[in-house]
Amino acid sequence: MIELHGLTKRYGDKTVVDDLTFTVEPGVVTGFLGPNGAGKSTTMRMLVGLEAPDAGRATVNGRPYTEHAAPVHEIGVLLDAGARHPGRSARDHLLALAATHRIPASRVDEVIDVVGLTEVAGQRSGGFSLGMGQRLGIAGALLGDPAAVVLDEPVNGLDPEGIRWIRDLLRGLADEGRTVFVSSHLMSEMALTAEHLVVVGRGRLVADTSVADLVARSATSVRVRSPRAHELRSLLAQRDVVVTTGADGALEVTGLRMEEIGDRAAGAGLAVHELTLQQASLEEAYLELTADAVEYHGSTTRTPTTPAPERTAA
């Protein structure tokens, strides 16, 4: 389990990580989502002691990472997939890391096999592709048989086969009871891999939610097509209801249930040719969340809370 309490990092005037508090539970894949520059990498760096927080703390199984006697047994981390000496073989790279914890060479060969680099492990790693680099980085993260795995943008540079492999690997690790914390700036990828999401924007926590909850609470609208759209529009107008007209003349209604729209149209004798519930995609839900984060960050009038579940008309 990874716990963050009020974790804060400032570079000069800029607060890169702003009072982050959340818990990453074992047994599920937790996605760490946010636009580029949202503070994800800095948060992960603080998690493993590469950078000292200005306030707050991060703990792994109750203690800061740096205070564990065998730290890589607690967290295995991939921060930079390109981090390898081009003149050194993948196996030597891992052997050097393993030696610090007296992890045997047999374990090195094991993780090389897990990530599928056995055939090239003895070659100088300078010729590795981005994807092979990612696999080597992941092998390093798995070396210590860690309780938690923290990966920064692990799918970058992987081909579709590799992406599916990562997905299976992460789920497998979570199924083994490990804590799996994976950052990405792509909602689409996280939607397929993660069960839980921590969303950040401009260093602040925007949402800490299950993927299912995020889908459920994302904004929905109803698309209505009617030959008498203009009359229908005034019929639906009321407080907290937003009606917009699309390019094809169809109405997009937010704030009214689909059933109610149908009932009102029937009551007024207006023909309705289409009535469709439109569920916002996860991608849209995510963009909405992070857009809000940016908005309240720049304004002093709104209180920085997580967005209310229902969308209300402005």
Binding site: V48, A70, V72, R84, H85, L97, A99, V114, D168
Partner: protein, 295 residues
């Protein structure tokens, strides 16, 4: 190969673990140890070609320059008209100094090895993995010092001894004055040269740790070891020159790497202490910086 890491789990643990289990079964991992970190640094050093290249190049420079200087000094090779006399040779400090002429250039090569030991980690980004595996950070610097010393010192001892004997052989063949290893101060000068070169490698490591860039650290090393002793004569007021210049690393070292004492230079012991300070103080500063800065 979709999953994963089970081989180290206890034999009884089946594949169907419950997610309610707080932790999966894991083998007991050993703590970070000083010996482990030293071994890690040894693997890093031996697994890149540049280590062997720079090490052999340093030994090569010593041997080649020593042999050339001896050949010139003994008259086996023609002397340029304006060079020193046959018994002086380049450097003019006697037969031991003549054959150790390579120590004018060798520090640059071995210094680069010291610099690269740490700056290659910053350049490639492996410093982050290194410091994640050893969050205490200082053991890494300590292990680099141990490994660098353990590798460089023996090679330099062999190289300087070989250079000395080869050089004396060549000098003797041309009937130039020679020195025996048992002559006063000769063994000290020969082994002192090996120690000096090792010290420069460690100074390179310290500068590399402080500056985190190969180019910056090599420049600083060149300035400190090669340029300042010469430039100081122009830049410093005359009254300071004697006091300051003799304390620069290469000048301090020359007091124990040469047999003959130059008037105004430090004593061999004094020079050794000053040179040791040039190694230890930058390493201590490097340790503080490494501990404080973000990686």
């Amino acid at each position: 190969m979709s999953t994963t890491l089970a081989p180290t789990a206890t034999p009884g643990a089946g594949p169907g673990r419950t997610s309610t289990a707080p932790e999966h079964a894991r083998h007991a991992s050993r703590a970070v140890s000083a010996a482990g970190v030293v071994r890690s640094e040894w693997i890093k050093l031996r697994s890149v070609r540049s280590s062997t290249t720079t090490l052999l190049a340093t030994a090569g420079v010593m041997l080649l320059f020593g042999a050339l200087a001896a050949a010139v000094g003994s008259g086996l090779l023609a002397t340029p008209p304006d060079a020193g006399g046959p018994d002086g040779g380049p450097g003019g400090g006697g037969p031991t100094a003549t054959v150790l002429a390579g120590s004018l250039l060798a520090p640059l090569v071995i210094g680069v090895l010291g610099v690269l030991t740490i700056t290659s980690e910053y350049a490639t980004g492996t410093i982050r993995s290194t410091m994640t595996f050893v969050p205490g950070r200082l053991p890494v610097l300590g292990a680099k010092v141990v490994v660098l010393t353990a590798v460089v010192l023996p090679v330099m001892v062999v190289a300087t001894l070989a250079t000395f004997f080869l050089g004396q052989l060549l000098l003797g063949a041309g009937d130039a004055p020679t020195a025996a290893i048992g002559d006063p101060g000769v063994l000290r000068a020969v082994l002192g040269t090996a120690a000096y070169l090792t010290g420069v490698a460690l100074l390179g490591l310290a500068l590399g740790t402080l500056l985190r860039s190969t180019a910056a650290a090599v420049s600083a090393l060149v300035a400190l070891v090669f340029l300042l002793p010469g430039l100081g004569g122009f830049l410093l007021p005359a009254s300071w020159q004697e006091d300051v210049l003799v304390h620069l690393p290469s000048n301090a070292a020359s007091s124990f790497t040469s047999v003959a004492q130059v008037p105004g230079a430090l004593s061999p012991t004094g020079g050794a202490l000053v040179f040791a300070a040039w190694v230890v103080i930058p390493l201590l500063l490097a340790a503080v910086a490494l501990r404080r800065r973000a990686v």
